[in-house]
Amino acid sequence: MTLIPVEHVLIFSLLLFAIGLYGTLTRRNIIGILISIELMLNAANINLVVFAKTTSLSPETGQVFAVFVIAIAAVTVAVGLAIVLALYRSRKTIFADEVHLLKW
C-alpha cells in the first residue's frame, strides 16, 4: 500500500478550507454559513490526522484532537441552528445580510 504524499493531503485540506472560508464569507443563508464552517473544521481535522500520522508523535494524539473538534462542531451547529430557529421565529428570515441591527 503506497502512502499518499503529505503535500497532496495538505493541498486538499487547504482547498477544502478555502472553499469553506469562501462559503462562510459569501453565503447569505445562515445554514449555508454553518455548513461552510463545518467544511473548514473538517479541513483542520484532516491536517490533524495527517500530521499525527507523519510526525514522531503517537498517532492517537492527532486523532483525539480530531474527535474533540467533531464534538465541538456538533455543539456549535446545535447552538447555531437554535439561533437560526429563534431568528426565523422572530424575523421570518434566515439570511445573514438581513439581520444587521447590531451596529453603531
Binding site: 462562510t24 464569507l25 444587521h100 451596529k103 453603531w104
Partner: protein, 647 residues
C-alpha cells in the same frame, strides 16, 4: 449704720423714675411721668434732709462696698456725707424738686413730656451720686452721666438746628475739660495710690505725697481743674453755656445754673486738700476765675436774649466761686455756690415764666410785664436783688464773703476786679429787670399772661431760699456755715470788714441806680453811650469774638485737617483697597480665561478627538456578521505575514 444705708436710696430713687419713665413713659404714663419724677425727688428730699440736718449737727456718714477687684487692688464705691457734700445735697434736693414741679407746668403739652422727665430724673440721680460719692471714679462716672443728660436736654428740641448744634458744642467743649479731669485723676492715683477722698485727705494731711515729686501732684491738680473749666464754663471753655440756653428753661435752671455747672466748683472744693498741698496751683485757679467773672459780666451788659444774659451771669458768678476757692476761700466759695443756686434757679424759672407768658425771648420785645405777671415779676426782682448783692438777701452775704477773702488775703487787684464785676452784675441785672418788667409794652403782638400756680409756687419756694440762706453764713450767725465747713478742712478765716461791706453795697446800689437812670428815665442815653464807646460795645456784644476765634483757629483747621484726611482716606486708602479689588478681579478674569479655554479646551478636545476617531472606526461595525469574519481573517493573514516576515 442701719440708718445710714437709706442714703443709698437717695440717688437710686430718681434712677428708678428714669428707668420707668424711659421704658413706659411714652406709652403708659404720659402726663403722669412728671408725678413719678417729682414723687421720687420728694422721696429723695425726705431721706436726704434729715441726713443733712444730722450732718449740720455734727454727724458724718460714710459707707462703701467693694465694687471691683483688680489683682490686689480693690475699688470701693460708696458714699461720704460730710459737711461739704451735705451742703450741696441740701441744695440739690430742694432746688431739684422745686424745678421739677415747675417743669411739670412749663413742659405741659410737649410731645416728649415723659422723655423730658426721664432725662431730668437721670440727671438728678447722677447729680446726687456725684454729691455723695466718696471717690473720684464714682464722681467721674456721675460727672459724665450729667454731661450726657446735659447734652440730651440741651438738644431736647433737636428739630431746631440751633439746638442740635448747641448740644453738640456743649458736649464737645465739656469733653475737652473732662479728658483733662480724667488724666488728673489717674495721675493722682499714680501718686497716691487711691481714689478715695478720705484717704487722699488723710495722706495729704500727713504730708505724704507718694513716691512721685510734688510737681507731679501739682500737674495732676491742674488737670483736675481742667474738668472744672469745662463743666463750670470757665474761660476759655465757657462758650458752650450761653448756647446751652437752647434747652427748655427748667433745664437751664436745673442743670446750667444751679447744679451741674456748680459741680465743677464742687470738684475744686472736693479736691481742696490737693490744691492746698501744692499752693503753687492756686494762682492758676484764681486767675481763671477772675478772668471768667469779669469777662462774662462785661459780655452780659449788652446781650438782649433774656436767657443769654442769665447764662453769662451764671458764668460770671461761677468765676466768682472759682476765684474764691483759688484764694483758699473754701467756705466763701461753697457758700456762694449754695446761695447762687437758689437765686439763679429762681431767675431762670422767672425767665421761663416770662417766656411762657410772652412767647418771646428778646428783652427788646418785652416791657411793662410787671402788672401782667405780678408773681413772676416780684420773685424775679427779689432774685435780682439777691444776685446784685443787696443786703440782707443771700447774695449779699456770700458775695461779701468772697470780696472779704480777696481783700483780707492780700489779693488787692482781684478785689477791685471782683468789685467792678459786682457793679456790672447789679447794672446788667437791673437793665434786664427795668426793660422787661417796667416801662411800656414795646411789641404790640406780645400778649403776656401770668403763669399757672404750679409754676409760680416753686418761684415763691425758691424766694425763701434766696432771701434766707445768706443768714447761716453771715456775721449774724458768726459765720456758722464757714466754720461748719472748716470743721472738715482747715482754711483761713477772716473777720468781717466794714470797708468791704460798704464797697459791696455801694457797687450794688450804684449799679442798680445807674441802670435805673439809663433805662427808666433817659432811654436814649443807652444808645449814645453805646455809640461813644463803640469798640467796647462791639467787643461785649460780640462776646469778645471768642466764638469766631475758636471757629477760625481751632474748628476750621480741624475740619480742614478732617477734610484732608478724608481725601487721603478716599483717594489713597480706598484707592489701594479698590486697586487690590480690581487686581483680584483681573486675576480672576485671567484664571477664568485659562479655565475656560485651556483646561475646558483640553477636556473638550479629548472628547472631540474621541468622537472624531470614533466616527472613522465605527464604520467597521456594519452589523453584517460576515464582514467581521472577513476582517478577522484579513487580520489573521496580516499577522501571519508579519510573523513570517514574508514582506
Amino acid at each position: 449704720m442701719v440708718t445710714a444705708d437709706r442714703i443709698f436710696l437717695i440717688p437710686l430713687l430718681p434712677f428708678a423714675a428714669f428707668v420707668v419713665n424711659i421704658l413706659f413713659g411714652a406709652r403708659f404714663l404720659k402726663h403722669r411721668a412728671a408725678w413719678l419724677s417729682i414723687l421720687t425727688s420728694i422721696a429723695a428730699c425726705v431721706i436726704a434732709l434729715p441726713v443733712c440736718f444730722e450732718v449740720f449737727g455734727g454727724a458724718r456718714f460714710a459707707n462703701d462696698f467693694a465694687w471691683l477687684r483688680i489683682n490686689d487692688g480693690v475699688l470701693r464705691f460708696g458714699y461720704l456725707v460730710d459737711p461739704l457734700s451735705a451742703s450741696l445735697l441740701f441744695m440739690v434736693v430742694i432746688v431739684g424738686t422745686l424745678i421739677q414741679i415747675y417743669a411739670s407746668g412749663y413742659m405741659q403739652g410737649d410731645p416728649r413730656y415723659s422723655r423730658f422727665f426721664a432725662y431730668v430724673s437721670l440727671f438728678m440721680s447722677a447729680m446726687l451720686t456725684l454729691v455723695i460719692s466718696n471717690n473720684f471714679i464714682l464722681f467721674f462716672m456721675a460727672w459724665e452721666i450729667m454731661g450726657l443728660c446735659s447734652y440730651l436736654l440741651i438738644g431736647f428740641y433737636f428739630q431746631k438746628e440751633s439746638a442740635a448744634k448747641a448740644c453738640f458744642k456743649a458736649f464737645l467743649t465739656t469733653r475737652l475739660g473732662d479728658v483733662g479731669f480724667l488724666i488728673g485723676v489717674l495721675m493722682l492715683f499714680l501718686a497716691l495710690g487711691t481714689f478715695d477722698f478720705s484717704e487722699i485727705n488723710r495722706a495729704l494731711a500727713l504730708g505724704d505725697h507718694g513716691a512721685l515729686p510734688l510737681s507731679f501732684l501739682a500737674t495732676s491738680a491742674i488737670f483736675i481743674f481742667c474738668g472744672t473749666i469745662g463743666k463750670s464754663a470757665q474761660f476759655p471753655l465757657h462758650v458752650w453755656l450761653p448756647d446751652a440756653m437752647e434747652g427748655p428753661t427748667p433745664v437751664s435752671a436745673l442743670i446750667h445754673a444751679a447744679t451741674m455747672v456748680a459741680a465743677g466748683v464742687f470738684l475744686v472744693a472736693r479736691s481742696f486738700t490737693i490744691f492746698m498741698a501744692v499752693p503753687e496751683t492756686m494762682p492758676v485757679v484764681t486767675t481763671i476765675g477772675c478772668i471768667t467773672a469779669f469777662m462774662a459780666a462785661f459780655i452780659a451788659l449788652t446781650q438782649t436774649d433774656i436767657k443769654r444774659i442769665l447764662a453769662y451771669s451764671t458764668i460770671s458768678q461761677l468765676g466768682y466761686m472759682v476765684t474764691a476757692l483759688g484764694m483758699q476761700g473754701l467756705g466763701a466759695g461753697t457758700f456762694h455756690l449754695i446761695t447762687h443756686a437758689f437765686f439763679k434757679a429762681l431767675l431762670f424759672l422767672g425767665a421761663g415764666s416770662v417766656i411762657h407768658g410772652t412767647h418771646v425771648q428778646d428783652i427788646r420785645q418785652m416791657g411793662g410785664l410787671f402788672k401782667k405777671m405780678p408773681h413772676t415779676a416780684v420773685t424775679f426782682i427779689i432774685a435780682s436783688l439777691a444776685l446784685a448783692g443787696v443786703p440782707p438777701l443771700s447774695g449779699f452775704w456770700s458775695k461779701d464773703e468772697i470780696l472779704l477773702t480777696a481783700f483780707a488775703s492780700g489779693h488787692t487787684l482781684v478785689f477791685w476786679i471782683l468789685l467792678l464785676t459786682a457793679f456790672m452784675t447789679a447794672f446788667y441785672m437791673f437793665r434786664l429787670v427795668f426793660i422787661t418788667f417796667f416801662g411800656k409794652a414795646r411789641d404790640p403782638h406780645v400778649h403776656a399772661h401770668e403763669s399757672p400756680a404750679v409754676m409760680t409756687l416753686p418761684l415763691w419756694g425758691l424766694v425763701l431760699g434766696a432771701v434766707l440762706l445768706g443768714i447761716p453764713g453771715s456775721p449774724l450767725m458768726h459765720h456758722w456755715f464757714q466754720q461748719f465747713l472748716a470743721h472738715a478742712i482747715h482754711h483761713p478765716e477772716y473777720h468781717p470788714s466794714a470797708f468791704v461791706m460798704t464797697c459791696s453795697v455801694i457797687a450794688a446800689v450804684g449799679g442798680i441806680t445807674l441802670a435805673g437812670i439809663i433805662y427808666m428815665k433817659n432811654t436814649h442815653w443807652a444808645e449814645s453811650i453805646a455809640k461813644r464807646f463803640r469798640p467796647l460795645y462791639r467787643l461785649s456784644f460780640n462776646k469778645f469774638y471768642l466764638d469766631e476765634i475758636y471757629s477760625k483757629f481751632i474748628i476750621r483747621p480741624f475740619t480742614a485737617l478732617g477734610e484732608v484726611l478724608y481725601r487721603f482716606d478716599a483717594k489713597v486708602i480706598d484707592g489701594s483697597v479698590n486697586g487690590v479689588g480690581a487686581g483680584a478681579m483681573w486675576l480672576g478674569a485671567v484664571k477664568n480665561w485659562i479655565d475656560k479655554y485651556i483646561v475646558d479646551g483640553l477636556v473638550n478636545f479629548m472628547g472631540t478627538l474621541t468622537c472624531f476617531l470614533n466616527s472613522i472606526v465605527k464604520r467597521l461595525q456594519t452589523g453584517f456578521v460576515q464582514n467581521y469574519l472577513l476582517i478577522a481573517f484579513l487580520g489573521f493573514l496580516a499577522f501571519i505575514i508579519w510573523e513570517l516576515k514574508l514582506v
